[in-house]
């Protein structure tokens, strides 16, 4: 046992001394953090205000568009004001208008109408409040362009502006703003079903279509309203009819009475296993790869002979498995530790906010994540399946390593193993939808897939028979793999030259 430990410890230290190990440990939480924060950051800071012109030769549509875009902007500012009002302590000017959260209002809210009556919608009176930067800003038509000219000549004059050859008058935020887009509504637009007189949207950047989409939506609404009116239908009735939604409540029979409602935590619980399966897959694969490399190193520089004069092949194999398992285990612990740590820090922030009455304590994602880790079999299940799955795959990789003298040789063997290892990834989306269906059940009983598939099913309350049965099969399979690979390993490890053929491997299994 001592020798298994010594071999394992050396293996672990060797891996722990590599940069890759530490990068792996720290990169993962950073990625999680960044992928959570980046979209918010980008939305706040990343995009600068984009300027556009509207040339409306009909004189009818531009005001509609402007009203609607203005309303959107107002909503944006008011949402920001809501968020601002939730600050602790509440801003002085808004304190009077803040209403506590209620049962169907998860967050405390600002009595906006009351505030508007008081302050006349002038948010500049609220000290410390910076309204979000507008994403879009309409600017006047550049001088020298006559909006009533024919469309081709207007467009010819606009081109250099749109290409950025001319810039708009400088503003406070931007010394040389560029004209991002031009919207031209030609004469005769919207009359009948005249396709030729379509709105012309000019922009160099074709990726950001938010302005274009918004204008199209409003104009479509406007054209529909006109058509309803011409047909003698009241658009208000249509609007009311269209606002109808089929009511749906999600319920789960497994939950206690009164708590049948399916909430965020339940969805999380259903999809979290997929995340775990992915993690399981990545970790088993990464860790097995380490083993492969280390065996090939020992084999190619013949350290193996010295080792084998000191320890038995079995001790060597188990020691290596142990060492790399420690590496993987520490990496996993660090990853989960960072997720749980981050979730609990956020949950504490959240709960202090909830205690202050600012937010509804029932609606916190970090709290849900935490309770997911605490209350279910996810973590213990993950640990068990990680170990059992690791034994099977790592032993196979170790044996492949023992058969080969170079990584290149190993790649020939790796192909089929990788294909086999890919299957659980393909299955991943299907299993949570029907965790106890035939596909899930069949694949659970294939030992190489048991860890992944059962991990995926774990929150779907699989039958106890499946859990225990597949567990026993998996343990049996691990023992078989250890035994068989142990036999191959002890013969292969000293072999030089060409890797053996498959048929030879079977012969090795039968006798020594």
């Amino acid at each position: 046992m001592r020798y298994i430990w010594l071999v394992g410890l050396r293996e672990f230290l060797e891996n722990a001394r590599t940069k890759g190990f530490w990068i792996g440990i720290f990169l993962f939480p950073v990625i999680i953090l960044v992928s959570g924060a980046l979209p918010i950051l980008l939305a706040k800071k990343g995009i600068s205000t984009r300027h556009y012109v509207v040339i409306d030769q009909t004189g009818e549509f531009a005001p509609k568009v402007r009203t609607e875009l203005g309303r959107q902007r107002t909503t944006e500012v008011e949402d920001a004001l809501h968020d601002f009002a939730r600050r602790d302590p509440a801003p002085r000017e808004l304190a009077r208008f803040i209403r506590a959260s209620g049962s169907n209002q998860p967050l405390s809210r600002l009595d906006l109408d009351g505030w508007k009556r008081h302050a006349g919608s002038n948010y500049l009176t609220v000290s410390g409040f910076n309204p979000p930067r507008a994403a879009w800003l309409e600017v006047p038509v550049p001088k020298g362009i006559n909006p009533s000219n024919d469309v081709p000549s207007i467009e010819a004059q606009l081109r250099p502006w749109l290409r950025g050859e001319f810039t708009l008058p400088p503003s406070e935020a931007n010394p040389s703003p560029k004209l991002f887009a031009a919207v031209i509504i030609p004469r005769g637009y919207g009359v009948g079903t005249n396709e030729s007189a379509s709105l012309r949207y000019w922009a160099e950047n074709t990726a950001d279509t938010s302005l274009r989409d918004s204008i199209q939506r409003q104009l479509s609404d406007e054209l529909r309203r006109r058509e309803y009116r011409s047909l003698g239908v009241d658009p208000a009735i249509i609007a009311r009819v269209e606002a109808r939604r089929a009511p749906i409540t999600d319920l789960n029979p497994r939950k206690a009475e009164g708590e049948e409602k399916v909430g965020m935590a339940d969805r999380l619980r259903q999809w979290a296993p997929s995340f775990f399966v992915y993690l399981l897959w990545v970790s088993i694969f990464a860790v097995s790869q380490m083993l492969l490399n280390s065996v090939i190193e020992e084999k190619s520089n013949r350290i193996i002979e010295v080792l084998l004069s000191s320890v038995t092949p079995g001790e060597l194999m188990l020691g290596k498995l142990l060492g790399v398992a420690m590496t993987g285990g520490i990496m996993m612990t660090a990853w989960f530790g960072s997720i749980i740590g981050m979730a609990s820090v956020q949950a504490r922030i959240f709960s202090s906010a909830a205690a202050a009455g600012a937010v509804n304590p029932a609606a916190s994602l970090p709290t849900d994540v935490l309770s997911l880790f605490q209350s279910t079999w996810l973590l213990p299940g993950f640990a068990a399946y990680f170990i059992l799955g690791y034994i099977a795959y790592a032993t196979i990789f170790l044996t492949i390593g023992s058969l080969c003298n170079t990584l290149k040789d190993a790649q020939n063997f790796m192909g089929p193993v990788m294909l086999v290892l890919m299957v659980p990834l393909f299955l991943m989306p299907f299993i949570p939808r029907d965790p106890n269906g035939p596909i899930a059940t069949i694949f659970s009983w294939i030992p190489l897939y048991t860890p992944f598939v059962m991990m995926n099913r774990i929150t779907g309350s699989p039958p106890l028979f499946d859990v225990i049965g597949t567990g026993i099969v998996l343990v049996g399979f691990d023992i078989l793999i250890l035994w068989g690979c142990g036999r191959i390993f002890r013969l292969a490890i000293l072999r030089t030259g060409q890797p053996p053929r498959i048929i030879e491997l079977f012969r090795w299994l039968r006798n020594r």
Partner: protein, 308 residues
């Protein structure tokens, strides 16, 4: 202590049809330096691996320090394999300590011993260097130290001298004689005769998997007839009639070997040369070297064996 350090009885090893070691028997007494000689492909490494129980013999029995398998007494054996390699990313002292630990030393003792050996054999400054930064010769010395760090009773070195410069070969010879002087048994294989000649108390020569000779250095020399080497521009043919001379062999232009019968006095040849007016440039009556013995025993088969 009367029990031999190592005993092989009728050991054979077959790889399929190919016979790597054929009915090999030998006995290594304790406290001696034992040479294991043979040309390339003679079965030296296979034999050593079987002694260490890394490979199992196809037939025959091996007894190592009284045990049926080297694995039972692995803590009392040190082994340096033919192809040398070290963990590239480990420090020199750590490699030695690791292997010593695998041989049963506690981690503290292993570490102490590593530094002690590195200092004694002139590698103190490299103790903290990663082995990939060491020269080939230094790396090899580290490996030799790793194989003896646990002070084994039996040390098996496979081609320990290859790749070392003359100075370090000297250091290694010192390590080997130190071990013997402290009552340890050293078995080493080589095909450099000079080392074997200087170091070995006993030696075995194998070729084509068979034992060709086993005994002391003196016994080895005795396998060759006494001979006298001489250089002359004259025709040495008249020497054939001299009593005690059994043969005359040309050994290059103007060089000759005169074979003598057992116990014949080389002085007789010298006198016969004067009497027969054969003018000598050199006259060498030294004993046959190990090189001669080796060439005679394995010469014919080695050429073919090394190209198999």
């Amino acid at each position: 202590m009367s029990e031999p350090a190592l005993e092989l009885r009728n050991v054979s090893k077959y790889y399929g049809e190919f016979c790597a070691v054929n009915d090999l028997s030998l006995t290594v007494p304790r406290g001696c330096i034992y040479g294991f000689l043979g040309p390339n492909g003679a079965g030296k490494t296979t034999s050593l691996r079987m002694i260490l129980d890394i490979l199992r013999p196809s037939s025959g029995t091996i007894s190592v320090l009284g045990a049926p398998s080297a694995l039972d007494v692995r803590h009392r054996i040190g082994y340096l394999p033919e192809e040398k390699g070290l963990y590239k990313k480990m420090k020199a002292w750590a490699v030695i300590a690791y292997f010593a630990g695998l041989k049963g030393l506690s981690s503290g003792d292993a570490r102490r011993r590593a530094f002690e050996l590195l200092e004694r054999y002139g590698l103190k400054d490299f103790a903290q260097a990663k082995t990939e930064a060491l020269s080939k010769g230094m790396g090899q010395k580290v490996q030799v130290l790793a194989s003896i760090a646990h002070d084994p009773e039996l040390v098996i070195l496979d081609e320990p001298f290859s790749g070392l410069d003359p100075v370090n070969q000297g250091v290694l010879e010192e390590i080997v004689t130190d071990l013997r002087d402290r009552g340890r048994t050293v078995l080493f294989s080589t095909h450099v005769m000079a080392h074997a000649e200087r170091l070995c108390d006993r030696l075995v020569i194998i070729g084509g998997g068979r034992r060709l000779f086993d005994g002391t250095m003196t016994e080895a020399r005795r396998t060759l007839p006494h001979r006298v080497r001489l250089h002359t521009d004259d025709d040495p043919a008249p020497l054939r009639g001299v009593p005690g001379v059994t043969g005359l062999i040309s050994d290059g232009p103007g060089a000759w070997q005169v074979e003598l019968s057992e116990g014949a006095d080389p002085q007789l040849v010298l006198r016969a040369c004067f009497e027969r007016a054969i003018r000598l440039q050199t006259f060498n009556a030294a004993e046959p070297s190990l090189h001669d013995v080796f060439m005679k025993l394995v010469g014919p088969s080695a050429r073919e064996a090394s190209f198999r």
